[in-house]
Symmetry: C2
Subunit: 192 residues, 2 copies
DNA sequence: AGCCCAGGTTAACGACCGCTAACGGCCCTG
DNA sequence: CAGGGCCGTTAGCGGTCGTTAACCTGGGCT
């Protein structure tokens, strides 16, 4: 046996297909029968694994947010003391994420409002902490720029990096390198 | 009487409210009764003005795409011969649009798949032509960069500029100037 | 004055959808 | 070999939603 990812559990299969379908046609636009069919079971069978359709979306969104934050914190700790390297590492990590999980990226800021109050609050809190990682390091690099401006700039760069769902017949590495340059270029223009 | 916008027709009222609601809760998440209530009539009354819910979305998306393209063409013609000025003008125009009509921006790439085949095709064609305006001028400014890369970069900058739905307690002018700098910074990094 | 039509109303239908109920087979355990 | 979860199935309920039908009304044209 290899050390690579084990066979995905049924739950994981379902989440993966649900993410794809939600991203493609929207949360309300996908029926439970359709999600079931995508994993080879039918409709109500899903309820052996999830409390309901909402629960799938909630687990997806909380999951992404947690992984983003955890990854970001790891990268900040790893390169601590060198803001330039921290920012580069955050950018690289975000690009990897955007390219690996475009469906989740799409859902992340599109279907948040479909969550129950508690879940939505949790996701927003995780998002805010992730943004704060970026804001902190960008402010170190550009101390003369106001915090509100930096925050808007960080969101804008997220928009730039998350634009990958829009096609690209260009090869993974080329897109990575391009996005990296664009993001650095945008941040570089903060002080100019 | 003034030369300013006349009192909006009922159709325009409906479109405006529908755009707001669709952006907030998604096409499938908004009922016709809700749209009707937003303009003071109720549910089925909308059918005196539109063939159906789909028709409202179609008119919204075709309308934005046409306005974007028309505005873009106008700006290209206006500054023809000076690629730098053309690009600046395209950026400024797109920023204005993003700040003035955030609801439409949101819908623009979020609910496109809910359209009928014919409408979707039309919208995509208009979008493609708008992108091409940008690609052409950016290629003039960076002749050494491949076309595919430029196209991805343009989409990425759209993502950056369209990120404005995400808050900003920063004042219109400050956001405008910031986005302008970020977009120029990103494009500037194309050659570096 | 009479009429008509634009622009509303309410009632109701049919389809769909999320979810529950009731049931069954397979595999693992004692 | 008995039994009990785990993981499916199908049937069906209840609610919602887009749309249509049928009806009403007030203002402008003839």
């Amino acid at each position: 046996m290899s050390t690579r990812a084990a066979a995905p559990t049924r739950r994981e299969q379902i989440l993966s297909e649900a993410a794809r379908l939600f991203a493609a046609r929207g949360f309300h636009g996908v029926g439970v029968d359709e999600i079931g069919a995508a994993v080879g079971i039918s409709g109500p069978g899903l309820y052996r694994h999830f409390a309901g359709k909402d629960a799938m979306l909630a687990e997806l969104l909380v999951g992404i947010s947690e992984r983003l934050l955890t990854g970001g914190r790891h990268r900040v700790a790893e390169a601590a003391g060198d803001p330039g390297r921290v920012l580069s590492s955050l950018i690289d990590g975000h690009i990897d994420f955007a390219l690996d999980d475009r469906a989740l990226i799409t859902l992340h800021d599109r279907e948040l409002d479909r969550l129950r109050e508690a879940d939505r609050k949790l996701v927003r809190q995780l998002q805010r902490q992730y943004v704060e990682l970026w804001v902190d390091v960008v402010r170190e690099l550009h101390p003369e720029v106001g915090e509100a401006e930096v925050r808007v700039a960080v969101h804008a760069v997220f928009g730039l990096l998350n634009s990958t769902p829009h096609l690209a017949a260009l090869g993974r590495e080329a897109v990575e390198s391009l996005l990296r340059r664009l993001a650095h270029g945008a941040f570089g223009a903060l002080s100019a």
